[in-house]
Structure formats: C-alpha cells, structure tokens
Amino acid sequence: MLTIIQLVRRKQLDEKYAFLWVAAGIVMLFAPLATRTIDAMSTALGFHYPPALILLLGFFALCLINLQFSVTISRLNKHNKQLAQRFAILENRLKEFERSEG
C-alpha cells in the first residue's frame, strides 16, 4: 500500500491505474477485521479452508488488473501507431514544402 502511495506521489503511477491496486490494498488491509464474516462466507460457499476464499478473490482481482493492462496497452499501441503514421506524413509534407520554397 505504501509502495503504491509513494509511486503515485512520485508521479510514476497514475491515479487512474492505481485504482484497482488501491482497492485491492484496502481489501487486504481490512480483511483481518472481518475474519468472522469471511469464515462464515467461506463455510457457506463450502470451502474447507476459509483463507482459500481470500486467495481466490485475490486471484480474480489480479486477473482483472491484468486485463485492464492489456486493454490499455492495446489502446496505447493503436495511438502510438496513429501518431507515427501522422508524424511520417507531416514530415514528408514539411520536406515537400521546404523543397518548393527552395
């Protein structure tokens, strides 16, 4: 949790992408306070070992965070491509312009 706060403070991590990490962190921090509820839920769901529920939820959370990353990477990749294409075209036009100006 402290690492995340520090990263955001140093602007190395954007608040937007810190969201899922912060949410996961808060859940982890406060989970010990609700051991009884967790135990009750686990037994209700049929887990023989209550902490397994936490592990499972943690696993889902990580999957979600990863998926968000993949979506973000795809979008950035597309923007990157569009920028590069536009850059190449503009550079070419600038060159043509300079040539025509002499």
């Binding site: 990749n77 491509k81 569009q82 590069a84 294409q85 190449a88 075209i89 070419n92």
Partner: protein
C-alpha cells in the same frame, strides 16, 4: 459480366472520362540492398504513376537510398509492422486525393510487369480490390511446407466465406480503389499481415474482390520476413480474427461500402475530418 446497379454504371462512365490519380505504395523494411533497383524497375515500367516508399523504421540505409533514387518516402519513426506501414501509405493516398493505389513490396518479389494488369479491373470498376495471385499464374518458387499448409487452410476458408475462389489470400500485391482505401484507413487493417481475415472483412462490408494472375519472383537479396517459427502464432491469429470478423458481420454490412465514398473525388485533404478520424468504426462513419 456481373450484374451492375445503375449507380455503378454511372460511376463507370464517370471514371472513364475522369483522369484517375494513381499511386504506387512500396512498403520497405530493411531493404537497403533491394530498394534502389526496385524503384528503378518500377519507374521504367510505370513512368507516369506517382510512387511513395514507406520506410517502416528500417535500421539500415533504406530511407537514404530510396530518397537518392528519387522517390518520395514516408519514414516511420520506428518499426510498426507491414500492415501499419501499408496503412500509412494508404492514409497518405487518401489525404492526397488518389483514386487508386497499388501495393508492391520493396523486396523485388513483385514483378512490376503486372501493375497494369492489377490496375485495369479497379479502373474499370469491376473490382474494389484486385489481388495478385501467384497460384493463378505460372509457378516458379518454393514455399516452406508449414506455410503451404497454412495458405491451403485459409484460402479454403476465405473461399467458402466470400463465396468466390480465393487462391492467394496472403498476397501483398494488390490494387485498391479509393473507397476501399478509406475503409482500410478506418481501422480495418491489421498491424502485421493482411490476409484472409482482411478479405473476409471487406467482403462483408460489400467490397468486390478479383484475383489477377501474377508471378512472384524469388527475393533479390536478403532474408524474407516470413519465418517458419511464427506459423503457430499465424494460425492462431488468422482463426481468431476470422472468428471476430464473423461476429462483426452485421456491423460491417450495415456500415456498407458506400459510406466510404467521398463527396469530392479530387482536392487535397478535402474530405475534412474523415481521414483524420481513423479510429471511428465503419458503422459510426455511415450516415
């Protein structure tokens, strides 16, 4: 002769007296050894057609040599992949008001003798895409076995889905009309290699494909970009993107190809906003 709608006939007669602006797009990645001779050869056969080389972030002297050979060059700041390089050329073509583009690889494998054959059906309006097929022409090249199996599989698939014989869906030797150029610029072109999936997408969007026999020569010098190790990824990518295309069938049909025809045929950057907004889906662009 295929059935022609009145609008199509009108377009035909329109095109016959209108001078079509034609552009040759030559994607090149690390082709310093070949690019100059490729440009010279194309020039000697098609002296009246404009030509643009797209240097896909080459680490060698491709850019300098292409410029020295007198070609206009679009230089991508880093390597984007074959499809994205071609798309850059198409974007340039759309913005500069070209009516027809021919894609021809910068490695010398595509014999420029066939440029005219490819342009003819697109100029006449019988096809939106003329696809140069090596399997309709005289064969004088060898293809690795794994690749051959892949080609066989996907040409079968493409032929079934598009209800016409497609013999060479991997071919990068093509002529494209303006309508299809605009479709490709609008996010309908893959980063890596356009293939059967691209053909299926454009078929659903209502474009007409015609195969033209060509011969593909062995590379002049150097290594080809297709390596056998990538076959597994290729099969996955192809199957998955064909599946995606099938799920988007309705959207593609709705955003029909007529949406990609401009109001003004000539004029530099006239269709304001359309080309710049290449993140918009075809359905959104449709009116």
């Amino acid at each position: 002769m295929p059935h022609r709608s009145p609008a199509h006939k009108l377009a035909l007669s329109y095109c016959s007296f209108l001078y079509m602006k034609r552009l040759l797009i030559i994607p090149a990645y690390n082709e310093a050894q070949n690019i100059a001779s490729v440009i010279d050869e194309i020039r000697s056969m098609q002296p009246s057609v404009d030509l643009i080389v797209v240097d896909d972030g080459s680490s060698d002297a491709t850019f300098e040599l292409a410029e020295r050979a007198g070609a206009k060059v679009l230089r991508l700041p880093f390597n984007l992949g074959y499809g994205a390089a071609v798309q850059s050329g198409l974007l340039y073509g759309v913005e500069a008001g070209y009516d027809l583009c021919v894609l021809i690889d910068g490695d010398g494998q595509h014999d420029p003798r066939f440029i005219a054959d490819l342009m003819a059906p697109v100029e006449e309006g019988t096809a939106d895409l003329a696809l140069g097929s090596r399997f309709l022409g005289k064969a004088d090249y060898s293809i690795p076995f794994a690749r051959k199996v892949g080609i066989m599989l996907f040409r079968k698939l493409a032929s079934i889905i598009t209800r016409q014989q497609i013999t060479d869906p991997t071919s990068g030797y093509q002529a494209i009309n303006r309508r299809l150029m605009r479709f490709f610029v609008n996010d309908n072109y893959p980063y890596d290699f356009p293939d059967a999936d691209t053909l299926i997408r454009l078929y659903f969007a209502g474009f007409k494909i015609l195969e033209v026999p060509v011969t593909i020569r062995p590379r002049l010098r150097g290594e080809s970009m297709h390596s056998a190790g990538k076959t597994l990824y290729y099969v996955y990518k192809m199957l998955f993107s064909i599946f995606i295309a099938l799920t988007q069938r309705r959207v593609l049909m709705k955003g029909d190809s007529h949406a990609f025809r401009d109001e003004t045929v000539d004029g530099y950057r006239q269709p304001a906003g359309d080309a710049d907004d290449h993140s918009a889906s075809p359905a959104k662009t449709a009116r």
